[in-house]
Every structure is written in C-alpha cells, then in structure tokens.
Amino acid sequence: MAKLPKPEELSKIDLTPPKTDWMDTPVVFKEGMFCHGSKPKSLEIVDFPNPREWRPADADWKLPENWKEILLEGIADRLKKYRSFRLFMDICVRCGACADKCHFFIGTGDPKNMPVLRAELIRSVYRKEFTTAGRIFGKMAGARELTVDVLKEWWYYFYQCTECRRCSVFCPYGIDQAEITMIGRELLNLLGLNIEWIAGPVSNCYMKGNHLGLEPHTIIGNLEYMLDDIETVTGKRIKPTFNRKGAEILFVTPSGDLFADPGTYTAMGYLMLFEELGLDYTWSTYASEGGNFGFFTSNEMAKRLNSKIYAEAKRLGVKWILGGECGHMWRVLSQYMDTWNGPADFLEVPKSPITGTVFENAKSMKMVHVAEFTADLIKNNKLKLDPKRNDHLKVTWHDSCNVARGMGMLEEPRYVLKNVVNNFYEMPEDTIREKTFCCGSGTGLNASEDMDLRMKGGYPRANAVKFVAEHHGVNMLANVCAIDRATLKALMEYWVPSVGVCGLHELVANAMIMTGEKERTTDLRGEPLPSVQAKEEKA
C-alpha cells in the first residue's frame, strides 16, 4: 500500500489506446494490479487440478505439459454447455458501446479492459481453433494462436474484471462479459491458476462453512462481542440461537459481517431487528456463509459451496430462509441456487410471521432478501422508527452490481433507507441503479496486494460519491453488500476521506426503537447521537 500513488496522480487517466495493435502488444504484469497466485494447499483441499507453488510475476508458471490441450478441451466442453458462451463468441460486432462502461477501463485506460477487448482475448483463440474463417484466414479474421503469453494475458485480465455486468446493460445483444470472465476463470482453474485471495476463502468455506475460516466457537465468540456492544448501546441483552432445529427461519449472511467493521454493525442490525420482532430464527455455523467465492472459481465449485444452505435448512427443518445483505451472494441465490441444488420442496413458500405477507417472488427458491423482509415490515408499520437518530448522517445509496443487474432489487432498500434516515441524496443517475458502478474489488479481487487495481477500478464509483459529498455534504455511503462494506471503506479513505461506509441494517437498527431499551446516547458505532450532541453543544 505504501507504493500506492496519490489520488491526484491516479486520476490522471488517458483513455487513448497505444499505437501498436492489441495482438502485438504483449501483456505487462504491473505491480499492484494483480493478486498472489493460489497456494497448492488451497487447491488440494477442494481437489482442484495442478496445485503447485507459482508466482504470477515469474516467467515460468510451471504449467502442465499438455496445458494447451487441457484449455482447448475446456473451451470445447464449455461451448457445448453454455449457449451464452457460444453465442457471445459469435455475435459481437465490436460497436464499442461497452468500451467506456467498464470501471476498470475508465480507471486504468488500459484498452484490454474494454469489455469487448477482454472478450476478444478469448474470442481470438476461439476463432483460430473453432471457426472455419479463423482457421483459413488467421490473423486477417481476428484469430490467433494460443500461446503462454496469451494464457498470461487471460489470467491478468480475467482477474481485472469483477463480473459486474455493467457492459451487458449497454450491449445491443446483451453480451455479458461476466459470463465470459466466469468461463475464462474456469479455464484457468483447470491449470491451477487461481488467485489465493479466492482459492483460500473457497477452501475455508468448503471445510469450515465460511470464507474467513471461522470455526463454530469463533463465530459464536464474534457474535458475543457484538451482543456486548448492543447491550452497551441499548441496555438489552440478546440471545440468538445457533444450529437450532425446529426454528421457523434459517438466517444466512456473508461471514464478512461477522468479522470486521463496518460489516459488524450491519450484523448487529440484524440481531437487533430479529430480537425486536421476536423472530423464531437460527444462525448456522455450518452454512455460515452467504457469499460464494466458488462463483469466482468455477460453476462446480460454486455449486459445492452453495449446497450447504439448502442442506442445512433441510437438516434443521426450518420453513424458509432469510438472507443477509450481500451482492454476489444474491446473484448466486437468485439466478443459480434453485437450479443447482433445488428443488427446495422441503421448505415452505416464505411468509413473514410478523406481517403475514407471502413472498410470492421467492416461491420456488424459498429465500427472502432481508431488505425485502424489512421493507415489508416498515410498509406494515411493524417497526417503531426514529430517523432523527441518523440525522448526523447524510446518506447516499450504492446499488451493488449483482443485486442491481442480477436480481433487480432497486427499490426495496431505497424504501427502507428513506424510512430510517432523513437525509438521502442520490448519486448522478448514470452511476446508480442498473447503471451502477462496481466498488472495483468484487469477484475476489479485494486483496491488499492489488490496491492499485482496486483504487483505479473503484474510481468511477468514488468519483460519483465525491460529487454528492461536495454538493450535498454526503458523509455516508450505504449499501447491501458485504464486499462493498469491506472494500468501499478503503476506497473512500483513498478518494473521498470524508465519507464513511455502512450497511442498510445498521441504519435500520440505529433508527429502530426497541421495546424496553434504555435511552440511547450513541449509535452502534459508539458515536454520540445528534440529540446528545446538540445538548452537549448547548451546555
């Protein structure tokens, strides 16, 4: 991090491409722009092929002898399995509409970060090996040989894409770079070429149930700290249950929220909300991860990790599942889980025990987003709220990519937010909702060794936050994503130091008046409430 250039330098971006043709411009691995390679142990735990010690910056990646064969077979196999892949290889017209939509391109100016060119990296090989025109006309038809340099280029740039899908919003054919990156990463994983920041959490999650590798007693221990803090703030001692059979609801949230602030405040928010509602729910230490770094590895790995949620719901005999705030978690849940591990016919159609609302939109997969759940509570006047407690905050809303473009949940969190804060300002409209910008660190790129990449990739988001910070005095960036909470904090510290980061349910819990609570003097972060501040100032 010490080597990270100053924001003034980093924001000098030139989007003009170089003179040499991209095929003739070899990839250069720049310090700070890539993550450490996967460690053999992380791959061995989940039986992934070709585990070994290797370093991305080294010339020799110790590839298996038949690496090319493995990749080409891998491509052929995926062309047969995914219509998206086959179609997206064929129909791009290179109109360039996606080019300046990618946060990594805007932030780096590197032309291979234009979604179209990132796709061409693999498309060029597809043409060479799988199309008649490419075989005959070669480079004239945009085809090229698969070489070690090409492979390295793939690795470098498929780990400079956060699968945020912003490009696919603008593409006239809906070509989704996320889909291509996912397949690109699967191919790389056939050769053991993951990054450790993904491979580590994957093996943790596989063995211990969550990315952080928190063992059962640690989870409880971490929650105890939060319960202490809640007691300090509200005077109420909450006693959540774990792995409890017969509970009505299983609650699953990303483990990041159990580990570090500001995620922990969001977790405290859940605890307080469910306590206040008297919800019959349980946490699980086995399915203690909502997120899914397997999704950044391969389809199969994602399914293996995801299987725990339904399995645990079945074992505990709950009626339905409630899911916490997380971005890619909800992409996986809403578009993949039921297909992979369903049908969840042992569960019931989710019904809020408080309001009686039946969540018809989740009637097959049986899992409800906590923002949907809370929006319904507020709409039905089931919560006593005092938004004034959040008056020290001027809040803006960051739509998380996956929730916005892979699920379409745009209004529920806004509704909740508007009911729990008085000062809410939207960022410029081309940077929110379906056009929202990624935090720059999604899909497992939130390591510390690639801080240059993260700050560059997060630049468009940060820049929009800066706009509302300057125009409206916004000082809090709220969101429903655990990775956002972890990464936007660093991003804000770098680009807009006056703005903090929080989850939605932290704000809910701050505003929520609990029965029998003591008069609160601080928010969940231990900072004095505006009313207290005003009194102090008077005195």
């Binding site: 219509r83 509409a97 032309p111 038809a141 809906g174 007693h217 297909t339 709409k379």
Partner: protein, 330 residues
Amino acid sequence: MKALVSLIAVLLLALIAYAGASVPGMRLLFGVVIPYAAFIIFVVGMVVRILKWASSPVPFRIPTTTGQQKSLPWIKHSIIESPSNGLGVIARMALEVLFFRSLFRNLKTQVGDGKQVTYGEAKWLWAAGLAFHWSFLFILVRHMRFFIEQVPAAIIMIEGLDSFLQIGAPLFYMTDAVILASVTYLFIRRIGIPQVKYISLIADYFPLFLILGIAVSGVWMRYFTKTDIVSVKILAMGLISFNPSVPETIGVMFFVHLFLLSVLFVYFPLSKLVHMAGVFMSPTRNLANNSRMKRHVNPWNYPVHVHTYEQYENDFREKMKGAGLPVEKE
C-alpha cells in the same frame, strides 16, 4: 490499414464482377450460378448456425436486470426491463430488436481533467445503427417487386412512402440516402474514435464496405447509368421459378451489384453478421427474471462433491460442544 485491406478486397470483388460479366459467356455464372450458390449457403448457413447455438443449452437463468424486480405488490415492478413472465420478455425483446433499446442507453464517459468523470449523451451510434438497419430492411422489402409478379399493395405502399418526396425521375428513395449516410457514419466512427478503431478488425470494415458497395452500385443503376430493370425482373423471376435466363440487355453494373450481394450472402453466416439471428437467442435478454419463482432446470446439472454437515460435525464436534452448540452425535 485494416480498413484499407477491406476496401481493396471489396473493390477487387467489384472488379471481378465487372470484368467477369463483360465476358458474354460468364453472364450465366454471375447471373445464375453464383447467386444460387450464395443464397443456398446463406439459408443453410444461418439455419446451421442457429442449430449450433441451440445445441448448447441455457443452463442458468441469467437475465441482465435493468429495472425493478417483481417483488412486493406495492413496489412498482418494471415489466419490460425486468420481466417476470413471457409477455414481458416479448416486449423487452421487441424493444431490443426493433428499436435497439440497449444501445439507446449509450453514454460517453469522459475522465476530463481528473476531477470529475462525466457521462454525456451519446445517441449517434444508436441513431446511425437504427437508421442503417431500418433502411436496409426497407430496401430489401422494396426489392421484392422484382420477385413477385403481381406486386402486392403493401410493397407498393412502402415504396410510395420511401419516395414520397417525389424528387426527380426515377423517384428518389430516402432510404438510399439514409443507408449511404449511416454506413458512412458507421465507418467514420470506426476510424475516428480511437478506442473503436483499436478494437476493429478487418471483419468489421469488410462488411461495411461490402454493403456500401452494394448500395452504391444500386444507386448508380437507378440514378446514373440506368439498367434495364424489366430484364432484371425477368432474370429474378427466372431464378425463383428455377427457369433462369440472363437477358442480353442487363448492364454490367447490375452484375457488380448482384455479385457483391452474393458475397454478402456467403459472408453472412460465417461472420459477426449472424447477430441478426443471435440477438434473439441472447440469454441475458430473452429470459424472464423469475428464477426465484420458478425453478430453471439445467439439463447437465450433475451431483458434486460436497462437505456434508456430518463431516463438518466430525471435524468440530468437541469445539461445538464446548461452545454449547447442539450436535447430532454425542
């Protein structure tokens, strides 16, 4: 450079047709054999391409949602941008195919002075793309008068619309100007915008020049050196009734036109132009956002190795008991 190669390629093709059709014996080749072959390749090629795509399943329901999902009844659901059923999908696809909805969203991102990233309007690509495709369609439909003996009123109406300015004789078609202007714009932006130039392949310039060549040769025959269109229709009708003959009075420019079109037919299924069919099959657009309501089935879904609860408990039983967690086996 790539543009130049493409231009030369198209000029060469035009020259081949020009020279070839000037040789009397070759008129049958350029007027009958090549068009037949090209058309067969086009039709068969497109069908094969579609079947190839269709032979890969859509394992997951992955629409790109560009609007509010259907959730709680009091939250306004975006029926078209995040369709929850087939009707919504049809509406979304219709907007996409007929009006290029996604391209309409286009923005121009500018990093400016390093202080403010701005997003400006950028509708030219959309406008030119739409103008190009629609004028192409109009022109194609208009040409049906050469293939139907009793030209139906609908086609006469379209032609009337296209020429309603009533300029000159023969009447000037607006779509002729529109297609030339839009293709020219699409070419200019390809070499004029540095990023677009950078991503462009020969395969991007070639079809532009090819279509430009077809349009120019067509325009040439209508407004400059007229060809005998009665003979052209006799040739066309002969082709479609499998009784072809090439009348002597057809001018050479017509064979340039027809040959370039034949090349386009052949090129179509082998190139990016298959987006014509592909756009209908794009899973990020043609699926309803209803994967939570209705289970999507993956035909190749297979069982995977999982770390079961039992294994987990075996790993951590003592720790779990120590933390007061219930266990299945004591």
